[in-house]
Amino acid sequence: MDACSTPMNAPAASLAIDEARYLAEQRRLALQRRMLPVLGIVGLLIAWWAVIAGFNIKPFIAPSPLLVMQTIIQKRDLLLQNLGVTALEALFGFILGNLAAILVASVFVHSKILQWIFLPIAVAINAIPVVAKAPILVLIMGNGMAPKITIAAMVCFFPTLINTVRGLEAVNPQIMDLMRILSATRTQVYFKLRLFSALPYLFSALRIAASMCVIGAIVGEWIGSTQGIGAQIIQATYNYDSPLLYAAIVMSAFLSGLFYVVIALLEKRIVKWSASH
């Protein structure tokens, strides 16, 4: 917690030097922020490998990361193709689910009555497991991408709804007073105040959703699909092909991570006013 650097009696430390020091520090931090996650993932792989090797776990129970890597490299075409399908489903689900959640949250924040009526419905519907919704979805949408996207969207919806409702309400009451004095319309209050106030909550929700939508797409594929990581997981499970199963899981984890990183970068781009301090 020691904020004071060691005393330094250089008579005139120039702006340029300080600026260079600041930039160097920023670069160091940026590098750290990029390298440490890699360290974490590598550490996870090593831990995984150590458990497999140390406890002498047989490959059909859990394969070693090396074997999984081999499998990934061997079947990369197949895996990447499936990954693409799942990624597309997850992406569309992400967009749809979050848009819907933000929309509904926006309605809720404008009408407490609608919120009190419809939030319990959202809670109830969110509590229905996918298996129960699946037959109806297949019936309505068939076996294409649509039901998978829908399931991914449903999985994203609820967390974003809850967080966004709260975020849209987390306005500074003083600024709300200002908007009122300016006779801002609800739309203006929404777009100029609420949306910005909601950003921290919204991005928190989007990070959650980024991770969830991939799961949603995979679970969605379990209602009937020949393509996608989810189908591959089922296939591998059915065949007790643990290396392939784990390869598919690694792929889905990778996809989740990718989504997460994109959202984090997006947030950094959008929320730039709180950069300092």
Partner: protein
């Protein structure tokens, strides 16, 4: 309406109870060789999955034909008043069975006594059928609910697990130590891979089902006579499969699909008495939460009768 969605001319959707793959080798072969086209059909295989067994989808009229893994599903569905009927059986002998290791084997039903048997929740009833059939009190066996995988056997949590003999890939995990006892050998005679359709399809468009069955039967013929070629077609459609495993699996599937019954009545044949037996067994265990279905509700030989020639040629 939902029916309208699936009514495209010449298109026939086969809704599976599970993922699409090796079990559809005959259909895939038939499609590859143009047998469906010969019948004026385009076959679309619609996979199910762990979350959807497809029966409601067919029953609602969305897709025309369904295939499900085991005959009990048909009986349970009709018991609930779902208007579907089985019109052919893919396999005569159910390849589902119980697997144990040589050091603590289950060769015969009597060996179950004192064993811990790991079964998925939906498999419990099949084990109870087996025990009832062999007059073994359920109290003598410990049923351990597990998910669908074999690791509990390998790590010694249970002595017996369940699985499909037809799924060679999955059995590899057990290696040479494997001891198998199929439901069939234990005296429980279920059909596997029964085909079904709604009663309305059976009545209004029987000829669609006839053509479907004819093409499929011709696929089976190729499977029997040129198994390597069939596996080639399978691998082409499902490249993620393992060729050697599927070649071995096909041999087992053929054994299950073609037996004395089919010598007499052709591939796919069904026997009303055997259906009745299954209904009775289920009823005795109190499995019908709806009404107890009659054989005529559960199955029909109408389509079989019209395709006898082709089926006999398999």
């Amino acid at each position: 309406t939902v029916e309208a969605l699936g009514a495209e001319d010449g298109l026939i959707n086969l809704q599976l109870g599970y993922i699409a793959g090796a079990d559809q080798i005959a259909e895939v072969t038939a499609r590859a060789l143009g047998y469906f086209k010969d019948e004026g059909l385009t076959l679309a295989i619609q996979p199910g999955g762990p979350s959807v067994d497809g029966l409601a989808v067919v029953a609602s009229g969305r897709f025309e034909v369904g295939e499900i893994s085991s005959s009990p599903s048909i009986m349970l569905a009709t018991s609930q008043g779902i208007p579907i009927q089985s019109f052919a059986a893919g396999l005569q002998r159910h390849p589902y069975g119980y697997f144990s290791l040589k050091k603590n084997p289950v060769h015969t039903p009597q060996d179950f006594i004192g064993k811990r048997v790991g079964v998925a929740p939906t498999g419990v009833i099949l084990l109870r059928l087996l025990l009832a059939k062999n007059k073994i009190p359920e109290s003598q066996v410990t049923i351990v609910p597990i998910g669908g995988d074999m690791s509990p056997l390998l790590i010694g949590r249970v002595d017996v697990v369940t699985g499909w003999l037809s799924n060679t890939s999955s059995l590899r995990a057990l290696g040479d130590e494997r001891v198998g006892l199929t439901l069939w050998d234990a005296g429980v005679h279920l059909y596997a891979w029964p085909y079904y359709a709604t009663q309305s399809t059976l009545q209004t468009r029987p000829d669609l089902l006839v053509r479907f069955l004819r093409a499929t039967a011709r696929g089976w013929h190729v499977c029997r006579t040129q198994p390597d070629r069939a596996v080639d077609y399978l691998m082409k459609d499902y490249p993620q499969l393992n060729r050697e495993d599927e070649r071995a699996a096909l041999a087992i599937k053929l054994q299950c699909a073609l037996d004395d019954e089919t010598v007499a009545n052709g591939w796919g044949t069904m026997n009303a008495d055997r259906w009745q037996q299954q209904i009775t067994q289920f009823d005795q265990l109190g499995q019908f939460s709806g009404h107890v279905p009659t054989v005529n509700e559960v199955m029909t030989t109408a389509i079989l009768d019209k395709t006898r020639a082709v089926r006999m040629a398999v």
